[in-house]
Amino acid sequence: MNRLLYVQGVPFWRNVVVLRWAVQIVSAILVIAVIAGFFGNVSREIAARDIPFGYGFLDREAQIPIGESIIGYHPSDSFAYGLLVAALNTVKASVLGVILATLLGILVGVARLSPNWLLNRIALVYIEVFRNIPLLVQLLFWFLIVLSLPTVREGYVAFDAFYLSNSGVNLPWPVPQDGFWLWALVTVVGIVVAAVVARRLLWRETETGKPSYPILTGLAIAIGVSVIALLVLGPMSMGIPTPEGRFGRLQGGAELSGSFTALLIGLVMYTSSFIAEIVRAGIQSVSKGQTEAARSVGMSGILTLRHVTFPQSLRVIIPPTISQYLNLTKNSSLAAAIGYPDLVSVASTMTQTAPAISLILVVMLTYLAMSLTYSLIGNLYNRAIRFKGT
């Protein structure tokens, strides 16, 4: 008799603890073996077939053109810096797109519930048109629309400072001067002070019942401090777009290029049609009794929506909306088709002089980081409203 195999009279193949451990270990080994096998095979083949791979290129001179950058770029900058510029371009499209798509989505979603038949139907048509056509086609369409504006030399001008043409929108934009950082510091301090004061007032209001206007006071302090500092320090001058040279291209100020404008419109229209449906479903998910109760205590329709229906529907709305934000970010990778230098577009240019597989890996990691950030924000928000609710 082999007593080794028995624990307290139970054979080991029926011992729950052993079984659980065994399954864990076997599954771990299997998973690791599959992953290791895959990567081992791929890396061996990469070496065997002399496929270039590696990251030595990152600090070499990139030498490629990048049309737009929020932090400045010159072809003599490194590949790493070029990738950063491109990633920031993607972030710019993603963040602006998320904000605008949310606003437009809420608007259309609410319009979808409007008693005005025409408005209601138009919202429906909007949703059904924009979410049922591939984004790539929509982007090309919006790009053609932007192109049909007049050229920069014949474009629309307002006050010699605002320009609209098929090269995009140009606006005056402040340029930081010497005192900028000091001003920024003062403003931040002002906001902190305002927050402390507002909290204090809010506490007083809830404790004593005296109306103390915490939000108004807080805002007044923050804005007041910032404006006074602005006037005293003069940290910024206004950059005004002016046409220059034979081609009349605009220099100075801020530019939303034609490609970026088309990309933004396309992303926002596409994503907002999904968000609108989410918002509609969310509002409808709030039970009718809530609305009726609010009405019976004398709240007007808009107040009911603002204070009763919408806050409750947020719990249904937020999770799918976050995944729409992820989609928007990933969809911005189609920018290359209409000439906006996003991460994918720049990386594909870089494949001329750098290993393609390494580049695409960097691109994937960057998107992954952005997606996880959005997920994280969403989860935090979700947790926050869940705590308040209980």
Binding site: P115, L305, L361
Partner: protein, 406 residues
């Protein structure tokens, strides 16, 4: 708009006075209920009319549709051999017959689609635009197939609706075989998979992606809930990585990495690489859908199963999963729609789907260089028809299942 919302939240007004019923009453109530509502109505109507007139006049007068009409076949089936085009058409006939069966059995939506399809087929079949005689006959046969399906419907079902599902699966399988071809059968030579393109490619990839991702997605969803940490985290990592990166980067990677995992002298077709990638991509989303569906199963179900003495895995497999899957049918249709649209990204690895075929047509023929608008409008309409009808069906199913109403 705020006023519009306000009245909406107020609920329905008390029983109608005489002026609020009938045609005028409808108008008053829905379009001109207050001055701001009337203003919204008038402005919107004006904008709408202006846009519609502009679009219609462009479509009829300005646009030059030769870029579409001269190469319909390329848009529909890509470079599929001309002498074999009857094969996808027969597959379409099979599906039309199924539609006829559904019409007789369930009416409603299926009837609308069956009549619409037959009408379109008749129009396309009659208008002369260089269709080969065989192809024309097969187009004209679509209404006949619908009718045949309608006629055999009672006999086929014979009180057992499951037979329809079996018939549908069989039709899809036979259709795929026809399109791919069978080795050694005269007239059914296997086609080079790289020649499949156009709309056919979009549909095949989306169908394959959704079908193949179902088991993997269920596996991943179960794995994600597993109490084995390694399995759980492997599944979570897979799902989050796939969901976190754009499909075009995945396609690029798999085109260049997947072949490395096979021996050097085995060449895998780009179509299969694309199919595998889309399947993996889709399964991550499917996993999340399945998880959501299972989470929506009432906890009482699990408790009841436990009370009956079912084990953990039995509860999952026999109680939670089937009910969860029923919950997510609309979500699966939604995923199919987005997957169908996403198949327009396969251009990145050189596949000629409908969108890419359009762009290639413009670019590779100097005489069409200015016809981009026509091509994109055509593509948009084709995609829209498919996606919209699917989302319409999905809503009907949702209503029939009563999801969210229990």
């Amino acid at each position: 708009m705020s006023a519009a919302v306000a009245t909406g939240a107020m609920g329905r007004p008390p029983p109608p006075p005489p002026m609020t019923v009938g045609y005028v009453g409808w108008l008053r109530q829905n379009l001109f209920s207050s001055w701001i509502n009337s203003l919204v109505t008038v402005v919107l109507a004006a904008v709408l009319a202006w846009a519609a007139i502009g679009l219609i006049s462009w479509v009829i007068v300005t646009a030059d549709w030769e870029v579409i009409t001269s190469r319909v076949q390329l848009y529909l089936v890509g470079l599929y051999p001309q002498e074999g085009t009857w094969r996808p058409q027969v597959a379409v006939l099979l599906l039309s017959a199924l539609l006829g069966v559904s019409w007789r059995s369930w009416g409603g939506t299926a009837r609308g689609f069956a009549i619409g399809l037959s009408a379109v087929a008749l129009i396309v079949g009659v208008i002369p635009h260089g269709l080969q005689p065989l192809n024309r006959v097969l187009v004209l046969a679509i209404p006949a197939a619908v009718g045949l399906g309608y006629l055999v419907s009672p006999r086929l079902i014979a009180g057992r609706p499951r037979r329809v599902v079996a018939a549908a699966l069989l039709a899809i399988f036979v259709g795929l075989l026809l399109i791919r071809g069978i080795e050694g059968v005269p007239g059914l030579d296997p086609v080079n998979t790289n020649t499949i393109g156009g709309l056919l490619l979009n549909l095949l990839l989306a169908l394959f992606g959704i079908g193949a991702s179902m088991p993997i997605g269920i596996g991943l969803a179960l794995g994600r809930q597993s109490n084995l940490p390694v399995v759980k985290w492997a599944c979570v990592a897979f799902i989050e990585i796939i969901r976190g990166v754009p499909l075009i980067t995945l396609l690029f990677m798999s085109r260049h990495i997947l072949p490395l995992t096979f021996p050097e002298n085995i060449k895998i077709d780009t179509l299969y690489i694309t199919g595998i990638t889309i399947m993996l991509f889709s399964s991550a989303y499917m996993a999340e859908n399945v998880r959501g569906g299972m989470a929506a199963v009432a906890p009482g179900q699990t408790e009841a199963a436990r009370a009956l003495g079912l084990r953990g895995w039995q509860t999952t497999l026999l109680i939670t999963l089937p009910q969860g899957l029923r919950n997510i049918i609309p979500a699966i249709v939604g995923q199919f729609i987005s997957l169908f649209k996403d198949t327009s990204l396969v251009f990145i690895i050189g596949m000629l789907d409908l969108v890419e075929m359009g762009r290639v047509t413009i670019q590779s023929n100097l005489e069409f260089v200015d016809n981009g608008r026509e091509v994109y409008l055509f593509i948009a309409v084709v995609f829209w028809i498919f996606c919209f009808s699917m989302s319409y069906v999905s809503r009907r199913i949702e209503r029939a299942l009563g999801v969210g109403r229990r």
